[in-house]
Amino acid sequence: MVARSAHPADWHRQPDRRELSAAIGLTLLAVGSLLLPAGFASPALGQMPDRIVSVGGVITEVIYALGLQDRVVGVDSTSQFPADALRDKANVGYVRALSAEGVLSLKPSLVMVIDGAGPPGAVSLLNESGVRIARIPDDTSAAGVAAKIEAIGGVLGAAEPAGRLAAQTRARFEELATLKQAIAQKRRVLFVLSLQNGRVLVGGRNSSADAIIAHAGGINVADGIEGYKTMTDEAIMAGAPDMILMMRNSSSHNTTPDELFAMPAFAETPAAKQKRLTTMDGLYLLGFGPRTPLAARDLMAAIYPEAAIPPLKTANAP
């Protein structure tokens, strides 16, 4: 800014400059307004946040399912499906151990966090920073999974495709419920999270394993236990599971049926007599996203092999 001089000659020159800048300004405004309709043509695109940090595997899965992955700049370490996510995007760390500055360093226009993301201090710092945060409730019920998809789509300005995905998920759950009704005699399933050192860590009541067993029409043997806990050998024997369910370990050694059923806890169970051990991909089984009805159907087919559970008719629908 040029300081205003008291010299009369300068006083005369000043208005010229202002006129010139006013003219330039008006021209820019006019050109700009010509461009405006182009912007209005796709208002949804304009509103869509284009630098998303997705915290929670299920959120990332839904974003990818909606084809919006190009807008994602960072994911948390639980975002393991699809596998590209962690390969292509910055990793902001474990869902419960976020760093506020780390997340902000990706210059997000939106941070989507699943229920239980933390630590609370980091989340409240993100909140204070003015970056838009969307909290997505986590839920393992059929209605909850569909609502979760809709919530994610709503926040992303992609309500329509998300609505289709949610409707598809609902339809799949309904089909699953019909299949479930046809089951006459429910079988008992025990979800074993790990066998570290001979200690059997199982999925009890209110665990995600409990929810998927219920979706698949099984009875959770460990429903006397809250959450993921160790179960005594005797209680396992008394629980008489018809089938043992475990997560497939992609990197290392998997427990074979022979090893498992050689353990005293399992040796006398109905599952051991028929060597019924099923392993499934952990995220597919316990992710509670759009793939969950398919996972529940696969689990159902594993629990009731003789019933020849058909694939979901809606499985290959768009």
Partner: protein, 336 residues
């Protein structure tokens, strides 16, 4: 050393996952100091003033508090192994803090629930105080403090607190269990001005009280009876030191989780450099602890950015090998 601390503090404020030019950082700090609000806009300002500055200040306070606590306990027990972490004081504070994490939802209702920042530090302080007192009562018979008893009792108390923390972990749900796990590894993340206002009134008086304690602790090096005959108020010095250690450790544990090895490594380093005179040892330990923790925090938040490492991992990775080296370089057997 004070200069080193200042430089490191400035580096810590300048470095982070978000690149902000040093000039801009200085500008923001200057604007804040002079109250020139015109310049205080934008994300940079928020990162510097609400994330990095409280974090670095918390690191300074926690580091200084833990290191001075270690130096105080070593002086009090006349033993180089005394450290709030090794003798179970941190475990006691940790148990109390774990109890507030796990049981807080069940038993705290109404207004108490709205004050998590007050309940956690207070609980951790009580836990630290109780374990320090129990330790002291067990180790002291007829006015004489047996260091061997103190160390063994400390190990037992630490194990007991660990077992009870394990019990809490067992009854906690998945969410609380994960909170507990990460909390036990320590972190300066989530530092805020609120946390600072909870810890500053505890650590700053501790730092101010150091001159009062230094002479007494120097006297205690001769033995309690000798110190008493020198006219040193032995019991008062002991009581004050225990209270301050419990307060500082409790507040540190509450605001940053369990951060190991600062309390034992730093006083040893300082003693190597300047000798055992507490008039120098205590303030230099404070500075050294502040430097170690702020330095470790820079590593913790830069090495895997945009994620961050728990700081306890970094301090233990630096502290434990150093501690071993300290043991190995001694020519004679350790005199416990």
């Amino acid at each position: 050393m004070a200069l080193g601390c200042l430089v490191l503090t400035l580096v810590a404020i300048g470095q982070g996952a978000i690149a902000i030019p040093p000039g801009r950082v200085a500008e923001i700090l200057w604007a804040r100091l002079t109250g020139d609000t015109g310049l205080l806009e934008g994300r940079d300002v928020l990162v510097v003033l609400n994330i990095r500055l409280p974090r670095v200040l918390l690191g300074l306070l926690v580091g200084a508090g833990l290191a001075v606590s270690g130096a105080l306990m070593q002086g009090l027990f006349r033993n180089p192994l005394a450290d709030p972490g090794l003798v179970g004081v941190s475990a006691g504070a940790g148990l109390a803090a774990a109890a507030t994490i796990v049981l807080g939802d069940r038993f705290l209702t109404g207004t108490l629930m709205k004050l998590p920042f007050a309940v956690l530090p207070f609980g951790a302080f009580c836990g630290g105080l109780i374990s320090t007192l129990v330790l002291y009562l067990i180790a002291t018979r007829e006015g004489r403090t047996s260091v061997a008893t103190m160390l063994l009792a400390g190990v037992a108390l630490g194990a007991l607190a660990g077992a009870m923390t394990g019990l809490l972990a067992f009854i906690s749900d998945d969410r609380q269990l994960r909170d507990l796990t990460f909390w036990s590894m320590g972190s300066l993340g989530g530092a805020s001005w609120t946390k600072l206002t909870a810890i500053a009134p505890i650590v700053i008086p501790l730092l101010l009280a150091m001159p009062l304690l230094a002479r007494g602790l120097n006297g205690l090096m001769l033995g309690e009876a000798e110190a008493y005959h020198l006219g040193i108020p032995v019991q008062r010095i002991k009581a004050l030191a225990i209270l301050l250690v419990a307060l500082a450790v409790g507040a540190s544990v509450a605001s940053a989780g369990l951060v190991g090895f600062v309390g034992i490594v730093v006083p040893h380093l300082i003693r190597l450099a300047v000798g055992p005179d507490h008039r120098l040892l205590l303030p230099l330990s404070a500075l050294g602890g502040a430097i170690l923790l702020v330095g470790a925090d820079i590593v913790a938040r830069l090495i895997v950015a945009p994620a961050e490492l728990p700081i306890g991992i970094v301090t233990a990775a630096i502290g434990a090998p150093f501690f071993l080296w300290l043991l190995l370089r001694r020519s004679g057997p350790l005199d416990v």
